[in-house]
Symmetry: C2
Subunit: 237 residues, 2 copies
């Protein structure tokens, strides 16, 4: 709805994001798949910069601001809200199926990764390996890391089960389900935590999404003081 007359230039669309945030990554992938132009502000959100807190009182990335020349400004906070906004405003390259059952399956898997995977895996692994480092929160708790690894294997087994039946997670086309899964998993892969060898169908799926042009900028991400795994940007991992 309300699609602008001319495509927005990069100067008219700004994404506030943090490179190693799985939720920010979903928006970067969706913008790439839809071939939309944008400029970035890398947000060290834990510093609670006043200008950013004014934009999003929840204090979390991603936030997308669209300021078409001569048109209304819109600021969209939260990954799911941004993804829905992009889907409704730029429907040309759909990332949701058109039938109700396909949409429901896609959204079930979005919730799977954004809630269940985020809580059971990233809530442990990224908390110990990433959040503690960037916020000076102390040394990693190895027991929490082992619990996260264990949960991660269960999730990969579930992906393997789905991908034995389907080309993409929610059906025969790439969708927001793949974007959610790949975003959460790609940050773990930065740390070398993904058990690719044990899950060949999942590895094949990830190699397909990793090869897409929309994924390129994610593979260039580095964060000072947080070394990345040797295979992180390797398409033949």
């Amino acid at each position: 709805m309300n699609a602008p007359q001319a495509p927005l230039s990069a100067a008219e669309r700004t994404l506030y994001h943090f490179p190693l945030d799985p939720f920010s990554r979903q928006v970067r992938l969706a913008l790439g798949e839809k071939r939309l132009l944008w400029q970035e502000v890398i947000e060290r959100f834990w510093e609670q910069r006043p200008e950013f807190m004014a934009l999003n009182p929840a204090g979390l990335p991603p936030v997308l601001v669209e300021e078409p020349i001569g048109g209304p400004i819109i600021a969209v906070c939260d990954a799911r809200a941004v993804l829905d906004h992009l889907e409704e405003t730029y429907p040309e390259t759909p990332l949701l199926p058109s039938d109700p059952a396909g949409r429901a399956e896609t959204r079930r898997l979005q919730a799977w990764f954004d809630r269940k995977f985020d809580f059971e895996v990233n809530g442990l692994l990224l908390h110990e390996k990433l959040e503690k480092r960037i916020t000076g929160g102390g040394s990693p708790d190895m027991q929490a890391i082992r619990s996260g690894w264990n949960a991660l294997r269960h999730h990969f087994a579930y992906l393997e089960h789905l991908l034995d039946m389907r080309d993409w997670l929610a059906g025969d086309r790439l969708s927001l389900a793949d974007i959610a899964a790949a975003s959460h998993i790609s940050v773990l892969d930065y740390f070398g935590d993904a058990p690719w060898r044990e899950f060949p169908a999942t590895k094949l799926w990830y190699s397909k999404i990793k090869s897409r042009p929309s994924f390129r900028s994610l593979l260039q991400d580095r964060w000072p003081g947080i070394p990345r795994s040797a295979h992180y940007d390797d398409l033949d991992f």
Copy 2:
């Protein structure tokens, strides 16, 4: 899209839910606002009943199943997926504004309650007061409860700030933002934890939503062994 020809009867639409689950409550309110008929299965989800796990491998309510006579069956898992399904399939009583900025604001607040409030408040208070009781998880941790109460006051202050400017949370009409907020808060109110006296605009907003026909069934909820506050079902609280 694909709206059925005739409205579904209660026998054709089943909601699997848990009465004191804030996410299930959002769907019950949305079904009520849209005046849709449904039958219920009350799901003791922590028991992981095999038939329910087959329906939703994540093992969580709510799940909505629509089985129109002679039509395709659809099972929708996860509150947000169900709310989106209802909004797209039964648009007659919209619960999302029609303009992009209004939709973005509504979804920002949905995420605020489903992620931030859920993590900072219900993750403590409902974990200690509800989950531990139904799963036999030991006695409540008073320090966690005090942290939850403290966070709850901050969230009520934010609601008060919004409601000083607006009739409803996302604007001038009831929306999914109100439904999300009221669902999360109403479970706390079952336990008598909502600090109504200190936040008059928030209390007025809650009294408005509490008086709606869609809210009636929530006010009748009781769960064995979990006593509810004296004012829980009182419209003049």
